[in-house]
């Protein structure tokens, strides 16, 4: 079973503390050594991005930062696990890393199974 994990948080959490980077790098290494982490990347701030939308028949592009959004995707991971609970446990650990290393941080991981046919 493959899951896409979307790491979400408010950009108002501020700069990522170095300890979070370190812990995330260790987590990443562990996941790859364990064979569960297939792919993972962090995303640059939304100021470097854009949103292209279709509304009322009009397609338009708006440059970042996405100031109205409460939570933004800050990174993703594709994991391959044997059960949904494994995916949840991996998500819990991700939040634990933030809890331990980033006082006041608030965010979430959206865990979605990837469709396979």
């Amino acid at each position: 079973m493959r899951y896409m994990c979307l790491m979400k948080s408010s950009e108002s959490n501020g700069e990522t503390p170095p300890a979070v980077y370190e812990a995330m790098a260790e987590y990443d290494r562990w996941g790859r050594a364990n064979g569960v982490l297939v792919d993972s990347q962090g995303l640059l701030p939304s100021s470097t991005g854009a949103i292209v939308s279709l509304v009322d028949g009009n397609i338009k592009a708006v440059d970042g930062p996405f100031t109205e959004a409460k939570e933004l995707v800050g990174g993703y991971a594709v994991i391959e696990v044997r059960s949904r609970e494994e995916a949840l446990e991996l998500g819990r650990r991700l939040m634990q890393i933030h809890k331990d290393n980033w006082p006041g941080f608030e965010g979430s991981v959206e865990i979605r199974q990837i469709a396979e046919f």
Partner: protein
């Protein structure tokens, strides 16, 4: 959190932690059976406590500490009669008191050592694969039994017999170094690939394949690339399994019947696995040529290169069959395997017409290793069929059908025989 959820969550933790837990415990207690028992004790303790306390922040460290405390107890009990155990008990008890979470370092070394142990030469291939599934992949006896369609008792027996053999061989104490390490690594790769193949084309029974075994083998291959990152064949094997397994969903029909490569819907090939496979193959090639620019590719990298040709091609006709024939030739030289020659006959038949394939196949008639192997008549049938010799093709397919032990494959071959006969009559 309901009890049921917690149990499932604890099972998930076990899946994620058991390999490292058992591997570290083997290093500490130098006894595979004891290490597994201690790990089991720890998970039993977790099942008793976590439903009320919740899962600890660092469940891996919790399990490790609990297992180590049990180890101290076990050694203390033995210490009455055994001086070594007394010393180990003291040492370990101090270590646990100082830093309960320690011992999660050198994990890579520990896991690799555990793989060496599970694939110890004193064990039969069957015992090697079973033990690898149990101790490295973290599958339960029941799951292994299901994967092999064997009674649970048979698997349990196989595991305990294997553990006895390991104890007698002193497998948990030795540390392979130098050329022996290379040989042992080769055995590990062989065991993982055997596991993969057992899943990819089940040799017996009703199933054409058992995807769970393939998935475990692919995962073990990924783990190995992290444990031994500088070995080209480790990446070659991982590439091979990622690429082959990218076709899992496409190679079986709705009724479980096999679908041959040429009839597969290539849109159903798993693009993520293909990408990982091609990446791993590139890594294998880079490592090989970095060591020596004219170094020959190993058997796994060669087979991965063949699989990569299929993965890159949009259709059977679009496939570079000349290149595939060349790769099979290299593989045959490298391994001395006549099966590589049979496959080269297939590729030649595609690249230069059925006659070229049949000419090579004729040369293989007297190879003893191929006698009784269903692949030969099945390939011959295929070449005859495309040469317009339907009656002869049918006879070959029937011969092949009588030779295979896999029921799905037998049915497929009989269907092909029937179709060839029908076309010949038209």
């Amino acid at each position: 959190m309901s009890d049921e959820t917690t149990h499932a969550a604890i099972e998930a933790v076990w899946r994620l932690e058991s390999t490292r837990l058992i591997a570290a415990l083997v290093r500490i207690v130098r006894d595979v059976a004891l290490a597994e028992d201690l790990a089991q004790d720890a998970i039993v303790a977790a099942l008793a406590q976590w439903p009320t306390t919740g899962i600890p922040d660092n469940p891996g460290a919790w399990l490790m500490t609990t297992a180590k405390r049990r180890a101290v107890d076990a050694f203390r009990r033995r210490a009455r009669t055994d001086q070594t155990a007394a010393a180990l008990a003291r040492e370990l008890s101090e270590a646990v008191d100082q830093d309960p979470a320690a011992g999660i370092d050198h994990v890579e070394d520990d896991v690799l050592r555990l793989m060496f142990i599970c694939c110890h030469p004193a064990l039969t291939p069957e015992a090697q694969t079973t033990l690898t599934l149990k101790l490295v992949a973290g599958l339960t006896t029941r799951e292994i039994a299901r994967a092999y369609l064997a009674p649970e008792a048979t698997i349990a027996q196989r595991v305990s017999r294997a553990k006895r053999t390991l104890a007698e061989a002193g497998a948990a104490i030795e540390e392979p170094t130098g050329p022996e390490r290379g040989e042992r690594l080769e055995t590990v790769l062989g065991v993982v690939y055997l596991l993969f193949n057992e899943g990819y084309s089940a040799t017996q029974g009703d199933d054409w394949m058992r995807p769970a075994l393939c998935d475990e083998a692919v995962r073990l291959g990924r783990i190995l690339t992290a444990l031994v990152p500088d070995d080209p064949e480790v990446h070659g094997l991982s590439a091979l399994m990622e690429l082959q397994s990218s076709r899992l969903a496409a190679r079986v029909g709705t009724d479980g019947e096999p679908i041959l490569l040429e009839a597969q819907d290539r849109g159903r090939w798993d693009a993520a696995r293909i990408r990982r496979g091609l990446d791993a193959l590139a890594r294998a090639d880079a490592l090989r040529t970095a060591a020596r620019s004219d170094a020959q590719a190993g058997p796994y990298a060669l087979q991965a290169a063949i699989a990569a040709e299929h993965a890159r091609a949009a259709s059977v006709d679009d496939t570079d069959w000349d290149r595939i024939a060349e790769l099979y030739e290299q593989l045959g030289h490298r391994t001395g395997s006549p099966v590589a020659e049979v496959n080269r006959a297939v590729a030649l038949g595609r690249a230069r017409g059925p006659a070229a394939g049949l000419a090579l196949l004729d040369q293989l008639d007297d190879v003893p290793a191929l006698r009784g192997y269903h692949l030969v008549p099945s390939v011959r049938g295929d070449l005859y069929e495309r040469d317009g010799r339907g009656v002869e093709a049918a006879a070959e397919f029937e011969r092949a059908a009588a030779m295979t032990a896999n029921e799905r494959e037998r049915q497929l071959l009989l269907r092909r025989a029937e179709a060839a006969r029908r076309r010949a009559a038209d």
